[in-house]
């Protein structure tokens, strides 16, 4: 039996700025998280200080990522109400994430 170990939180505002925009940035973060999860870690994405995310970024990180690695492998922390709304939209738009 394998157990997942929590790793240090990825502080997205500190690493990438207050506005997280662009699909390529989202893809980069998604790829990094996938690698960590495959190594057996539970990854925390800390959105403290993030003012806004673009829809394409949200699609990669909130939409595709949980569908790819599973909800139990990632933790989103400090998600503001506005980002939550964008995240819900992204999750709704991806297969395997609930609605439609």
């Amino acid at each position: 039996m394998t157990t997942s170990a929590p790793c240090e939180a990825m502080k997205l505002a500190k690493e990438h700025g207050e506005v997280l925009g662009g699909r390529v940035l989202g893809q980069e973060i998604r790829a990094k998280v996938v690698r960590l999860v495959q190594a057996g870690e539970v990854v925390t994405l800390d959105l403290d200080g993030v003012l806004a995310v673009s829809p394409s970024f949200a699609d990669e990180v909130f939409g595709k990522l949980p569908a790819e690695v599973g909800d139990d492998a990632i933790v989103f922390s400090n998600v503001s109400a506005q980002i939550q709304e964008v995240a819900d939209m992204a999750r709704a738009g991806r297969p395997g994430n609930g609605s439609h």
Partner: protein
Amino acid sequence: MTEKTAMPEITVCLRQAHHLHSLSRTLRDLRPILDLQEATQVTLDLTELTFIGPACLAFLVAVVRNGRESGMMADGSMIVWPASVPARTYLHRMDAIRVLFEHEANDPPDPVVRHEASGLKECEHFSSEKGGRRVAAALSKAIQDEVDTDRATEAALDVCLTELAENVYFHAEAEAGGFAAAQRFKNTQEIEIAIVDLGRGIAASLAGNPEYAQEAKDDISAIKAAIRPLVTSTPERNSGYGLALTRFLLEMNDGRLIVWSGKGKVQFGEKHAEKRVDEMPGTVVALRLHTDRPFDISTAYRRLNEAIEEIEGAFDHDDVRPLRGNETS
């Protein structure tokens, strides 16, 4: 002895003022360059140009860069700079010369002292998604500096412009990349931002998704489809929120979003208008927003969600599992 064939030559003139509403004239004036079928020495005569706004400037730069890179504007082509000192200074301030001559070994012509680009954001070229992201961030930062908006407004603009620049990268297939410029107009308290590409256009891009085959047959229908959330040519990769989000942001601001692609031109916002026009190679997206009115991304996202609910019908947030975590909301 073989006789040397003379290189064809043409002269193209831009006269007077070229504002956003006269972009069709800019297109007509530059059409001979777009229609070139063989390497030609082009003289682009700007002698009588008195003003050129961001959308027309970004388009001009796109046409010239495209002409040079495709080889249709042959060596020996030249630009005659405006006789009007303000117009010439403006082109320098807008950094048009650097963008036009980016790949030239020689110094750009007509060197003058460059002043700070007060009230405007220089013309920028981008050819990658990251480049588009950089330009979007620079544009929104420059606008914030100009109008003293709050950080949330800057973030909202940044998000919108990033999405629009991404469209160039992911959908336009524009060999010369995208071009952007912005300017503040103090007298009307407005900012104009333009993103231009000479790619395949919205209809051709949308045709890649069989679901929108009908809309893709007509440029106006294609533009109107592209403005709806969830409409994208690449559903496996993109989400189709970019133009929709921009539209909602601008509607709340009483601003305008103008999309001209192929033979269709549609204005969203303040006054809705659509018409068939001369064929635009690629796509021009121009935003005209008021600096004295709200630009609220939270409300825009809420309206985007409402629009999605209408489209999806059965869309229900209760069906979406919450994110796992310790959300602060």
